[in-house]
């Protein structure tokens, strides 16, 4: 394993560089996946059948909380990667930990929101609009859930093995994933919620 010390730790081996490129391409595929879900949502958003429309069920407060929490988590993971590049393991772990906690808060609020919708009689089975809404939000939420599990696994490895080319690579790739989820959320916030409330 040749380690190139002129590059940041996460880029320092050939294998690491391949993995980062591969993950960027994977994110390209993820963009297509979410674009398709958005296309489905936009196609069906007015097909409310006998169910409620978006303007009846969307509430700004929980959505604002989710947005602020998730955007902050993107900032903290950025700080985490910065700390990693400085070689500060403790700060890196703290920032990653905060990121995951914010992710957990996001997920909690989202689940509460889903429960509220269902109590108001807006279930996934009610109308095509709601099917598309729950699928789009649910896919994003499942990505966040998976991210929490994945991020925790990486944190454990960093704690045990320290900042090696391997763990740094994993942490960096995880940060790409997390930023991506944030970008998707910005689109959901703007084009599903804000537009839907108008």
């Amino acid at each position: 394993m040749k380690i190139d010390h002129s590059l940041p730790l996460e880029y320092s081996t050939e294998e690491n560089r391949l993995k980062i490129l591969g993950f960027w391409i994977f994110l390209g595929a993820e963009i297509v996946l979410f674009s398709t879900l958005f296309a489905v949502y936009f196609t069906l958003q007015h097909n409310v059948g006998n169910g409620p429309a978006g303007s009846h069920i969307f509430e700004l407060t929980p959505v604002m909380i989710e947005t602020i929490v998730l955007l902050s988590s993107s900032f903290t993971i950025g700080l985490g990667v910065h700390a990693m590049r400085l070689g500060n393991k403790k700060a890196m772990m703290t920032f990653f930990g905060i990121t995951l906690l914010l992710g957990l808060v996001f997920l909690g609020v989202e689940i509460t929101e889903f429960v509220t919708y269902i109590h108001e009689g807006a279930t996934m089975q009610t109308s095509a609009f709601l099917s598309a809404l729950f699928t789009l939000l649910g896919t994003h939420g499942m990505h966040v859930t998976f991210g929490l599990l994945w991020g925790s696994a990486i944190l454990m490895q960093v704690k045990k093995r320290g900042l090696t080319p391997e763990t740094a690579n994993k942490s960096f790739i995880f940060s790409l994933y997390w930023h991506f989820l944030d970008v998707v959320w910005i689109f959901i916030f703007s084009f599903v919620y804000l537009k839907g409330m108008m």
Partner: protein, 648 residues
């Protein structure tokens, strides 16, 4: 669900299939035990991460699926050979044409191509493996278990029966109440994830792991075709992922995406399916173009004519492939404007394709052509595929399409594109690269016999369908009355299908015969070919290249042969780093199989448990430390000397 609903009952053919499945599943473990091959199978195949072995497994699976799909085809031809035939009932016929389509496209054409690219691409670009060898094994096992999941459907629960396109509302629970279409959504999902990973893997491999000096415009044409195919895979397959997920939600969780009430939209399925489905057609055809380019240049003993225009035309085809999906349903009532736009984009595809056809013809011009088996397939491809292309342009004209839509004319058209395009190509590629993998050629005499059977019978089978279609015979029609006059041409088509069967049996017999009697091939370059894979000894050692070659031109190996200067100096080897074999991809595939199976029957608790096991394998992989191993200089020298003979 009762047990008598669990197994498909009431058909003698299904009982026969069950008996044969049971016999095979007894025979395999008994055979393995008797010949003491369990360890060999596990260590050398099931756990392998070597791209060449993974490629071989893909090809074996694809050949098996070719026969499964071929039996479906024979049954269809037999059913329609005479008017008012009672061999199959309507439901059974529906299931057969559905599985024929799914299997031939997704579990035969795709894996055959992916198998060849696994074998060839790293060798062509001078790499020692793909970028992510372990992920490559995961891709294979997901494909394999996805295919197995679909294949058990015809004895357990019932096969999908709404056509390979599974249009809604026909594919909804209301009109397809069996679990057949649950198999469709889950088996394709599992295999599709594997394909997506393959796309990413080969994209990174080709972009990052080429031999020093091999600029993009110095890559062999097959590598170019796979680069472009991989990009299409990455951008098309997520659409399938979503479409299948929505199908599953609609069928099993009561959502309303494609429903006919509560705001659902059945046309949405057709659109999503073909936004993936049309690029998918190019995913199976572009690699074929790449294979033909290699073979034609090799056996015409000339440079490929118009290298750059070949590349640009493939790029153009890949872009257009995403802009034509509506031509699959002109008749579903969009406006004139929409149909016109898609008509024009569709016809535009003929331009870059035509460029390629002329490039091959100009490559042949004044070439010293040797008529080997792979070359015969390539030469037959050009005229037959052109018929397919021209009828494609006929179908592309929206107003005219109202006449042929969903007739046998369409069926004839796409078989004329896919069989000479993809099937001939993979068979040609199989003959061409076979000696690289196994160290001996397939027998040429048997190969040519099977070629002539296949090429002639193909036309006998499918040309009559053009006429039947123009006479008004619709596709997917399980029987017809004598007064329609469809009988004689259908019978002719059946005769052709039997000829195709003989051709494919000869092909497999050739593999058996050649394994036993064909002389070993020692040069590593039996065809006097042009690209880098032929600079390695046959069969290729685990590490592919003892020293990574340095490239300064297209067809560098060809020029090094002509000028007599080797691509590398063979002396100072360095230890080579290789990945370790691992059983986790296989185990993960097994878990995916069970997850899919439980999901098909909506058995939630077992499905969740299987899902947790899948997550568990991912977590295990995350925490595992595996840094591969090194092959020592001494071992490289021993291997190279054994394979190439001692240097004087």
């Amino acid at each position: 669900m009762k047990w008598d609903e669990f197994f498909v009952t009431g058909e003698p053919m299904i009982y026969a299939a069950m008996v044969s499945i049971v016999l095979v599943s007894i025979a395999i473990p008994v055979g393995l035990t008797y010949f003491k091959k369990w360890g060999y199978l596990w260590r050398h195949w099931l756990t392998t991460v070597d791209h060449k072995k993974i490629g071989v497994m893909y090809i074996i699976a694809a050949l098996l699926m070719l026969f499964r799909g071929g039996v479906d085809a024979l049954l269809m031809r037999a059913q329609t050979a005479i008017p008012d035939n009672g061999l199959l009932d309507g439901q059974h016929y529906n299931e057969i044409f559905t599985t024929h389509g799914i299997i031939m496209i997704l579990f035969m054409a795709m894996p055959f191509i992916i198998g060849l690219m696994n074998v060839v691409i790293p060798l062509q670009i001078g790499a020692r493996d793909v970028a992510f060898p372990r992920l490559n094994a995961v891709s294979f096992w997901l494909f394999f278990f996805g295919a197995m999941l679909l294949n058990i459907s015809f004895v357990i629960g019932g096969s999908p029966d709404a056509g390979w396109t599974a249009y809604f509302p026909l594919a909804s629970v209301e009109f397809s109440p069996t679990v057949g279409n649950n198999y469709y959504s889950l088996a394709l999902q599992i295999a599709g994830i594997g394909t997506l990973m393959t796309g990413i893997n080969f994209l990174v491999t080709i972009l990052k792991m080429r031999a020093p000096g091999m600029k993009l415009m110095k890559m062999p044409m097959f590598t170019w075709s796979i680069l472009i195919t991989s990009i299409i895979i990455v951008f098309a397959f997520p659409v399938l992922t979503v479409a299948l997920a929505l199908m599953m939600l609609d069928r099993q969780f009561g959502t309303q995406f494609f429903a006919m009430q509560n705001g659902g939209m059945d046309m949405l399925w057709a659109n999503l399916f073909w936004v993936w489905g049309h690029p998918e057609v190019y995913i199976v055809i572009l690699p074929a173009f790449g294979i033909y380019s290699e073979i034609i240049a090799t056996f015409a003993k000339k440079n490929l004519y118009g290298y750059k225009s070949m590349v640009y035309s493939m790029v153009a085809i890949s872009l257009l492939s995403f802009l034509v999906w509506v031509h699959h349903f002109y008749t579903m009532g969009h406006g004139v404007m929409v149909n016109s736009v898609f008509s024009i984009t569709t016809m535009a595809i003929a331009i870059p394709t035509g460029v390629k056809i002329f490039n091959w013809l100009f490559t042949l011009r004044k070439g010293k052509i040797s008529f080997t088996t792979p070359m015969l397939y390539s030469l037959a491809f050009i005229p037959i595929f052109t018929i397919g292309g021209v009828t494609g342009v006929m179908l592309a004209m929206a107003s005219a399409d109202y006449q042929y839509h969903n007739t046998m004319f369409l069926v004839a058209h796409f078989h004329y594109v896919l069989i000479p395009g993809t099937v001939f190509a993979v068979i040609a590629g199989f003959h061409y690269w076979f000696p690289k993998l196994f160290g001996f050629k397939l027998n040429e005499r048997l190969g040519k016999w099977s070629f002539w059977f296949i090429a002639i019978s193909f036309n006998v089978t499918f040309f009559p369908l053009f006429i039947l279609g123009l006479n008004g015979m619709t596709r997917r029609m399980y029987t017809y009355s004598e007064s329609t006059g469809y009988g004689p041409l259908n019978m002719l088509s059946m005769v052709g299908a039997l000829g195709l069967t003989i051709g494919f049996i000869l092909l497999v017999y050739n593999i058996y015969w050649s394994t036993r009697y064909q002389p070993r091939e020692v040069t590593g370059d039996p065809w006097d070919a042009r690209s880098l894979e032929w600079s390695t000894p046959s069969p290729v050692p685990e590490y592919n290249f003892a020293k990574v070659p340095v490239i300064d031109t297209l067809d560098a190996f060809w020029y090094s042969k002509k000028e007599g200067k080797p691509l590398t100096d063979e002396d100072d080897y360095e230890p080579i780093h290789m990945p370790n074999n691992n059983g986790q991809p296989f185990i993960m595939g097994v878990f995916f199989f069970f997850f899919g199976f439980f999901m098909v029957f909506s058995w939630w608790i077992p499905a969740i448990i299987a899902g947790l096991f899948i997550l568990g394998t991912m977590a295990y992989r995350s925490f595992e430390k595996d840094h591969g191993h090194y092959i020592s200089v001494g071992e490289i020298e021993r291997t190279e000397n054994a394979l190439r003979g001692e240097k004087e």
